[in-house]
Amino acid sequence: MSAPDRNRDRAGLLWVLPALGFYACFVLYPLTQTARYSLYDWNGIGEATWVGLRNYLTVLTDSTLRDSVVHALILIVFFTVIPVSISLLAVAAMGRLRTGAFVSAARTVLFLPQIIPLVGAAIVWTWMYSDQGAVNQVLRAVGLSGLARPWLADFGTALPAVGLIGSWVSTGFCFVLLMAGTGKIDPALYEAARLDGANATQEFRHITLPGLRNEIGVAATITTIAALSSFDIVYVATGGGPGFSTMVPGVQVIRLAFTTGEVGLGSALAIVLLVLVLAVVVPMQVFNRRARP
């Protein structure tokens, strides 16, 4: 390599600098500060007292805080497992026709929940779930009025109800993603399978499912991050209530830091949330990359 070439390469650092500057100032530096706050007992205004890892101990032992982490894990079922399963079933049951006005209209409509802000989704569903809302209207119409209740205000149903808002938002996206994925599978594979006398289930298991591995991995990763770090939907629909029955780490961090004046404890929870997301997502990514052809 000649000397001027090396110079040009080093100039690349200048090109990275602006983005790196924004990233360092508004993401990396704040993260180090969250880690620093997490070691103090601080109400946000007065003196901060060094407490070492005690805030982390509280996160792990306080039942309200620990439950919020458990709720985030439960939300994975609603944000990820349900949408991906429904989409897979729908894709499996459908033919392989991927064009036409009807299909493209469907793509548009299915993407609507993904385009509106999550706050909007939460508002829409808060009304659907309310005492007078559509969900109870349907139940009463089919003679199940015994089941009718204010879904988001009931301790037993609030968390699944909030979770289903997430299912509603993600399903269209996952479905369209998987539908696009099936279009990339070589049709010759299906013809060969049919010649070998494979039935629909075998076709799905041995061709469709492996062919969609990449798309499934992507859908699962994105929706899992959304589940663990959920904020908008929970904050607007229930604020974490009733009681703490729908409290998630995202909402709890804001509550601790800005409402109850426990900045240190909130920061410890924020770090636990970060570690949790990395612990779940990094293995998924490694698995995805390895699965790639």
């Binding site: 040009r8 390469d9 690349g12 650092l13 090109w15 990275v16 602006p18 983005a19 790196l20 990233y23 508004f26 993401v27 530096y29 704040p30 993260l31 500060q33 969250t34 729908a90 049951a93 459908m94 033919g95 392989r96 026709l97 793509r107 548009t108 299915l110 993407f111 609507l112 929940p113 385009i115 509106i116 802000p117 706050v119 909007g120 508002i123 829409v124 009304w127 659907m128 007078q132 559509a134 209207q137 509603w168 399903t171 269209g172 996206f173 994105i222 991050i225 770090s229 904020f231 607007v236 995202g250 804001i254 900045v263 909130g266 920061s267 924020a270 949330l273 970060l274 990395l278 997502v281």
Partner: protein
């Protein structure tokens, strides 16, 4: 393809579409009832009150909200595109020293929940004097969106054959000219997709907007929608009218650019 399969396919699509659309229809119908009433479920009002929208527009100060969100997006997106494209060029195309390390650093940022940075961002904005101004949203958003932007643009530049640059270098072009005259035009499709994705993320950003800015008139659309819900949660009809009015611009834009939106979101996911 036989007829049976085609019918089954349409039934499945129709069912999935119905699930997506029914809640919107519910909100739309509800928003047309007389204010102060609580309509039963999804029901079309006897006399639709279209004036609810005019009132929601003025009570919610929607004109001002649109203006505020537009101002925020008009800074975040161009600056974000500029810095991410430059960094993507350096990391994906130039032989920048330490590019693997720097790329990994940005990649890790893809998994960072905004909640993990928001508390210090509040004290930072307070120290910078930007708290409760649009800058409190604009500056962090550029940083928070940079991991995906850099990742996206590097992936594009990595796919450009090195031979293209070598030819330009032979003609004596420096890095800046090479970028402006050769690579930028080639990158335009990738940049416009990123523009759309950064626009949606900023416009729909709720957490950053609601924590760092008190005045809904200085927030993004989603932040303002949250505030509107907080103030009018008891009047279901007005709340629905306001929600429809606030979401309408995004939905209209989406319907105009639907193909681009869907392609962008899918491409953004799979990369």
């Amino acid at each position: 393809m036989n007829r049976g399969t085609q019918i089954r396919e349409r039934l499945i699509l129709a069912a999935m579409m119905a699930i997506s659309i029914v809640p919107f229809v519910g909100v739309l119908f509800t928003s047309l009832h007389p204010q102060g009433t609580v309509p039963a479920g999804i029901s079309w009002p006897e006399s639709p009150q279209w004036s609810n929208y005019l009132e929601a527009w003025s009570i919610g100060n929607i004109g001002q909200l649109l203006w505020s969100s537009t101002l925020i997006v008009l800074v975040v997106v161009p600056v974000g595109l500029l810095v991410c494209t430059m960094a993507g060029f350096a990391l994906g195309h130039l032989r920048t020293p330490g590019r693997v390390l720097i790329s990994t650093l940005f990649l890790a940022g893809l998994a960072v929940p905004f909640e993990s940075a928001i508390v210090p961002l509040y004290y930072q904005a307070e120290a910078l004097g930007t708290l409760n101004t649009r800058w409190a949203i604009i500056l962090p958003m550029i940083g928070l969106l940079s991991p995906f932007g850099v990742f996206w643009m590097s992936a594009h530049f990595r796919g450009v054959p090195a031979a293209i640059s070598e030819a330009a270098r032979m003609d004596g072009a420096g890095t800046t000219r090479l970028f402006l005259h050769v690579h930028l035009p080639l990158a335009l499709p990738a940049i416009s997709t990123l523009a759309l994705l950064q626009f949606i993320s900023t416009w729909n950003q709720f957490l950053v907007a609601s924590v760092l800015v008190d005045d809904p008139g200085l927030r993004t659309m989603a932040g303002a929608l949250g505030a509107f819900q907080g103030q009018h949660r008891t009047d279901v009809v007005l709340l629905c009218a306001g929600a429809v009015t606030i979401m309408l611009p995004t939905v209209v834009l989406f319907l105009f650019l639907q193909r681009r939106f869907v392609t962008a979101l899918l491409a953004g996911a799979v990369k």
